[in-house]
């Protein structure tokens, strides 16, 4: 049995491995709630900025405490349970929507010595757990026993499962380049190999296989998280709010949290798979092994991820909504064959040397 390294910053190496893991879990689980509250604020500020409005600016400096106010409101709102619902499933659904978001977030590699779980098939496990989020949406829509909610839930599930395919096929290109399903291993490959001996081999730069895969991945990620231009499940002009129309107070907040957590996970996954994760032109190897290296790597990772989160918001306020038939046509008739062909192209590149970046 080969040993598996327990990655710990050197300063903290006196800690037993399990204690470091507990600290990691503690730190990592702080991130999504904090980030979600910031994102909600950012979404409103950025949308206001794009539309030449002011946006929330009253609560705290620049309106930063708006999300805190929102949270207080969520807690004190009446928990309305309409009479027609299936009570048990209605209460379980928000939890089913939220838990996968938090759990998949903990699977991401933030820095070489700072991750919660370092699984052999980490990418697959991440996809597997995020695919469970369909249950929350579908059950929530059905249990509400409302027409808007049911149509929204069914639309959302069909959309999510359709784009899960192309998402997986695009990620398979990265697996093919790096020869691993372990997310940390993928980042290590991207930071250590060079294209034409110069550029770091971030998958997005490995033209054309990696670049096309990235385009497919980011589009599928938008569909997967039900964000505009693919937000048919919630389409407020058609369905009022979609699957969570009958939910109020904290139950609604959980759906909200799950949706934004999924968005953060998708951004983090794009960073990890296509933009070299924690690596940045050798900066990730400065002060090898120290806690500073861990901090720098985490900072780099977050900088890239926050950029993608900004893109999510930016696109939302730029593009109009697709029609449902257009969405399905794009997924099944364009992206599915395209991503399969792209995988074969990438395999061909692998035999031919990938611009000198072969492992």
């Amino acid at each position: 049995m080969t040993t598996w390294p327990s990655w710990q910053p050197e300063v903290l190496s006196f800690l037993p491995a399990w204690l470091w893991k507990v600290i990691c879990i503690f730190l990592v689980l702080q991130m999504p709630p904090i980030l979600v509250s910031l994102l909600v604020w950012a979404e409103r500020r950025v949308s206001a900025w794009i539309q030449d409005r002011v946006g929330p600016n009253r609560v705290g400096p620049f309106g930063l405490l708006q999300s805190v106010a929102d949270l207080v409101k969520f807690v004190f709102k009446e928990d309305v349970v309409p009479g027609q619902v299936n009570r048990v499933l209605y209460s379980v659904a928000p939890a089913l929507a939220m838990v996968p978001g938090l759990v998949t977030f903990s699977l991401l590699p933030f820095a070489e010595r700072f991750m919660v779980s370092d699984l052999d098939s980490g990418l697959l496990m991440l996809f597997a757990i995020s695919s469970l989020a369909v249950y929350g949406i579908q059950i929530g829509g059905w249990a509400s026993n409302s027409k808007y909610a049911l149509i929204g839930g069914v639309r959302a599930s069909a959309q999510i499962i359709s784009y899960e395919l192309t998402l997986g096929l695009a990620a398979a290109v990265v697996v093919l380049f790096t020869g691993s399903l372990n997310l940390a291993e993928m980042v290590r490959w991207q930071s250590e190999t060079r294209i034409l001996g110069l550029l770091p081999a971030w998958t997005i730069f490995v033209f054309p296989g990696g670049t096309v895969a990235f385009v497919i991945f980011i589009t599928s990620a938008f569909a997967e998280t039900n964000r505009l231009p693919f937000d048919m499940p919630e389409a407020e002009s058609e369905l009022a709010a979609g699957y969570h129309v009958e939910y109020s107070s904290m139950k609604f907040a959980l759906f909200f949290l799950g949706e934004y957590a999924a968005m953060i996970v998708m951004s983090g996954l794009m960073t990890t798979l296509f933009l070299g994760g924690w690596s940045l032109f050798g900066l990730e190897r400065v002060m090898e092994g120290t806690i500073w290296q861990t901090l720098i790597q985490t900072g780099i990772w977050w900088a890239k991820t926050l950029f993608f989160l900004f893109v999510f918001i930016w696109i939302r306020w730029t593009l109009p909504r697709f029609r449902y038939d257009q969405l399905m046509r794009l997924g099944w008739k364009v992206f599915l064959p395209l991503s399969l062909a792209n995988l074969l192209v990438a395999a061909w590149m692998r035999t031919w040397g990938m611009w000198g970046a072969s492992a």
Binding site: A149, L343, T351
Partner: protein
């Protein structure tokens, strides 16, 4: 013998902990609003309209759970089939991306051909689905 280092099963313990914590958090958050509502509202507002599903103020005529288009089912069925295909692609991609020694003596060309046959047969299926117009969502 494993060709590459494989982590021991303990790597799942942190993941398990996260699942438990996230589940616990969800349970606490769900009960918070229920409890706060119970404590702060002396009298629950009750009226017939309050208990009906939200439909923009229109009177409710039928139950929400009616049948919906068969297209959704066929999407779900095709998803399973293509998902299984994708699952086969992952182990293939893993060994295809490794060096010659970690591939167990399988040549790249051989592996490529294997996958080409596999995908070629499934491509026929995709072609059939498209030709039959199953994925057309416009009204007929």
């Amino acid at each position: 013998m494993p060709e590459s280092p494989v982590p021991p099963p303990d790597v799942y313990v942190p993941l398990l902990l996260v699942v438990l914590i996230a589940g616990g958090l969800a349970a606490v958050l769900l009960s918070v609003s229920t409890v706060v509502t119970k404590l702060t509202m002396r009298r629950r507002l009750r009226s017939p309209t309050r208990n009906t599903p939200y439909e923009c103020g229109l009177p409710i005529l039928t139950d929400a759970r009616t049948r919906f288009s068969v297209k959704f089912y066929i999407v779900a069925m095709l998803f399973i089939l293509f998902d299984i295909e994708v699952v086969f692609l992952y182990p293939w991609a893993v060994i295809y991306g490794r060096g010659d020694s970690a591939r167990g003596g399988l040549g790249l060309g051989f592996l490529f051909l294997e996958l080409l046959v596999f995908l070629g047969i499934l491509f026929l299926g995709w072609l059939y689905v498209v030709r039959k117009g199953v994925l057309e969502w416009q009204a007929e």
